[in-house]
């Protein structure tokens, strides 16, 4: 009897929390998504101290902190050279209901100490960004590498990743673009787990519920039926 109960409870928990178990280290990942490394506020306003960033800006877009030669401290040499074409725009959201913007590459896998060249192709008429966070700050001011392409433009840039297995956040930082689907991850080596809310890769940490309009009535009905059934069972049990 009690063994059955426990089995039941475990099943229930598993159904509800399996997604949480699957994406390990819940807290650190949510934090990583947007907050990491909040608190080490050493970057300041981008607009005010862009001086320390290595940046090019023109009407086709910008590239910031490109680095194709300086090795991270923990790398002896460049192990591999990668080149990825990343398309970005509204059309890349069409496979994922409830998103508006998207990128063609949402999961990029590279080996440690490799150089990564991103060719960022914007298929919309407005600007978009390919921005990666969490790179070593001694090489990349603010820990970021950033490509920005004006509407219909292409931007290319290179950076070199360090040696540790880590998952990096990639997104477009225009207001609501990441929230509306322009989010990806770059895994170095085995990575350090999946980030949340990457279309096709992981679900949202705080998803909408999508219940039918009359769901409150259904719930009340279920509550009532549950009570009635229990009463009936108890009644029958007592009788026979």
């Amino acid at each position: 009897m009690s063994a059955k109960k426990i089995f039941f409870a475990v099943c229930l928990l598993a159904i509800n929390f399996f997604p949480l178990l699957q994406a390990q280290q819940v807290d650190s990942h949510v934090a990583h998504n947007m907050e990491d490394p909040r608190g080490q506020n050493d970057m300041g306003d981008l607009q005010s101290n862009h001086g320390e960033h290595n940046m090019t800006l023109d009407s086709d877009g910008m590239a910031m902190n490109s680095n194709w030669q300086t090795l991270p401290q923990d790398c002896a040499k460049i192990i591999r050279e990668y080149k990825f074409e990343v398309y970005a725009g509204t059309e890349f959201s069409s496979d994922y209901p409830g998103t508006i913007y998207g990128m063609s590459e949402r999961e990029i896998l590279v080996e440690p100490c490799s150089s990564v060249t991103i060719k960022f192709i914007n298929t919309d008429d407005i600007r978009h960004q390919w921005m990666i966070h969490g790179l070593p700050r001694y090489l990349y001011p603010g820990g970021m590498f950033h490509l920005e392409a004006a509407g219909g433009q292409i931007r290319e840039g290179t950076f070199i990743v360090p040696s540790d297995d880590k998952t990096y956040l990639v997104h477009c930082d225009m207001a609501q673009h990441m929230e509306m689907g322009m989010k990806a991850q770059l895994k170095v080596g085995k990575g350090s787990g999946d980030l949340w809310s990457i279309p096709g890769v992981s679900r949202s940490f705080r998803p909408d519920t999508y219940l039918p309009k009359a769901s409150r009535n259904y719930l009340m009905l279920a509550l009532f039926v549950g009570a009635m059934l229990t009463a009936l069972i108890l009644h029958l049990w007592r009788r026979y």
Binding site: N41, G61, Q176, S197
Partner: protein, 555 residues
């Protein structure tokens, strides 16, 4: 047994019921028999809590307030605590295509944000102007983090959702990756646009938002269709398809008439205008060497006024009023699915049932208005106020200590011989009035130097969700009443409570800051609560016992 229980329950109910709630005849009878009840002290006031106040007047670390010359543009000083970025002002005047890379980087603008081309009439200023506007969402929701995105507070702790037209920028929407605060150029209201009469204007809407939008030019001379026959009026039900997310549209115009006008989105306007997709649109007189500050971010002081305005007036301010229904604006914070948000805003939300909760001037409510929306003056000046009511109902704009003169209504000059000078100006929704604020101490136009409030005199307008002081209160401040840092030398109550979130959450006593104040929040009477609980318990017992009797009898 039951009878005995019932008796005990009734007795206990009677004992527990506070004597003050007995029926009055019984109380009078008791009073006659026993006299007045003994003294029992009322609960003590709650101890005043330590205020976690924000800094009223943040330090001007980047020296944005000072008068300065950037890219050959003389930018006036901005006397209030918080000033616009002067590099952006310079770039708006010269054109983002005509300033150095350094000015552009300091401004945060893209090279094509405001392009200025040829001087068509040979009078020394550019007449081909191309403005690019994006749409930004402030205080939106995140599918992952339980905090708002691109945050913008109108008052301490008050962050309603907004959509705004914004100048085209590069880089992040927030101050930096560690911050959730929107960068200063992304704010409410949408920038005031200034163009010259007769200029060839192109305005491109780059829809970077997740909903369809347009721009409608209210009161501005523009053709219904452009040269290609494409819709140019921004109205989806008459002239054109809305601009979809990721898409762009360019509107063309060459305004023949001057005046203070208005622009706003015309897609589902009852929602989109109220979400903040609206701004001032000013057509200035055509004058030689008239380099205009094409955009005035967040409205407010015009740091580079036009030639015509500078001739006639000492200073110029753009003032935009907007009231906010939290039930609408916060819908974008309840979901991260654009389909859900669309349905909630456009199918479910009913503006005919709306009540406004927040009242703003230039995107802020008191006390933040005192940081950046003061009208600063010296005696014997003329100040041009261009006022638009972007809100859902009229405002009764009242100036303390001054009577202002209405020079233009909806951009059209009023008869100089028949101008009205008064201290309450009624402005209906979408109406614009140009006011001449004269600071001559003659007992009519001005009663002299000081700190004089101006605000909507429909009293809800001076509240923030009913809490006062709040809403659209701002002030006309004479320079001698202004501190070095731009904060007015008020001599009334302490402002610390107003710079706490707790005050606008209604958790602080309104007169808590007054010395020796007795009006603190009152403590609770636990004994009274205990007696009531006892009474309720007894009553419950009585009901069940009585029901038991009825059932027994029925059997």
């Amino acid at each position: 047994m039951r009878i005995r229980l019932l008796f005990i329950a009734i007795l206990s109910a009677l004992v527990c019921l506070p004597a003050q709630w007995y029926p009055e005849p019984i109380r009078l009878l008791f009073s006659d028999w026993f006299g007045a009840q003994d003294y029992r002290a009322r609960p003590n006031s709650l101890a005043a809590t330590e205020l976690a106040s924000e800094v009223a007047c943040p330090e001007d670390l980047q020296a944005w307030r000072e008068a300065q010359t950037i890219a050959g543009v003389d930018i006036r000083s901005s006397p209030t605590c918080v000033a616009d970025n002067p590099s952006a002002v310079a770039a708006f005047v010269r054109g983002t295509n005509n300033v150095s890379q350094q000015v552009l980087l300091d401004s945060g603008l893209t090279p094509d944000a405001v392009e200025k081309g040829r001087d068509l009439d040979g009078d020394g200023d550019p007449d081909e102007i191309h403005i690019r506007l994006e749409v930004a969402e402030l205080n939106g929701s995140s599918p992952d983090l339980n905090e708002l995105t691109a945050q913008y507070a109108i008052a301490p702790g008050i962050k309603p959702g907004f959509w705004v037209f914004v100048p085209k920028t590069f880089g992040m929407a927030t101050e930096n990756f560690e911050s959730l605060k929107a960068r200063s150029i992304l704010r409410v209201p949408s920038p005031a646009i200034r163009v010259e009469q007769g200029d060839k204007i192109k305005i491109t809407l780059e829809n970077s938002h997740y909903m369809p939008h347009t721009v409608h030019f209210h009161g501005v001379d523009h053709p219904f269709v452009d040269a290609d026959g494409e819709g140019n009026d921004g109205v989806p039900i008459t002239s054109e398809q809305p601009v979809m997310p990721g898409g762009v549209r360019t509107y063309d115009m060459q305004p023949r008439q001057t005046g203070t006008m208005f622009y706003h989105c015309h897609v589902q306007p009852q929602v989109h205008i109220m979400m903040g997709l609206q701004g001032l649109f000013i057509v200035e007189e055509n004058r030689p060497d008239n380099w205009l500050q094409t955009l005035n971010v967040g409205a407010g002081q015009v740091r580079v006024p036009s030639v015509a305005v500078a001739e006639e007036f000492d200073r110029e301010y753009d003032l935009q009023y907007l009231d906010i229904d939290r039930e609408l604006n916060n819908l974008i914070q309840a979901s991260s699915d654009p389909r859900v948000i669309t349905e909630q805003m456009h199918n479910r939300y009913d503006i005919t049932d709306a009540t406004s909760d927040y009242f703003t001037i230039n995107g802020r409510s008191f006390p933040y208005t005192f940081r950046e929306s003061l009208v600063v003056t010296k005696p014997n000046e003329h100040i041009k106020l261009r006022v638009v009511n972007g809100g859902s109902s009229g405002i009764a704009l009242h100036t303390h200590g001054h009577k202002v003169t209405t020079t233009h209504l909806d951009g059209v000059e009023t008869n100089p011989a028949a101008r009205v000078t008064r201290d309450v100006v009624w402005i209906a929704s979408a109406q614009r009035v140009d006011l001449d604020l004269e600071t001559t101490n003659d007992g009519l136009h001005s009663y002299g130097s000081g700190i004089w409030l101006f605000h909507d005199h429909q009293e809800k307008g001076i509240t923030t969700d009913g809490v006062s002081p709040g809403g659209n209160i701002s002030a006309i401040v004479y320079e001698e009443y202004l501190q070095e840092n731009g904060w007015p030398k008020t001599q009334g109550v302490d402002y610390d409570p107003y710079f706490t979130e707790a005050y606008y959450r209604k958790e602080l006593p309104v007169w808590g800051g007054l010395a020796g104040s007795v009006f603190l929040m009152v403590g609770t009477d636990r004994w009274m609560l205990l007696r009531l609980l006892g009474f309720a318990l007894s009553l419950g017992m009585i009901i069940v016992l009585l029901l038991g009797f009825i059932r027994k009898r029925a059997h």
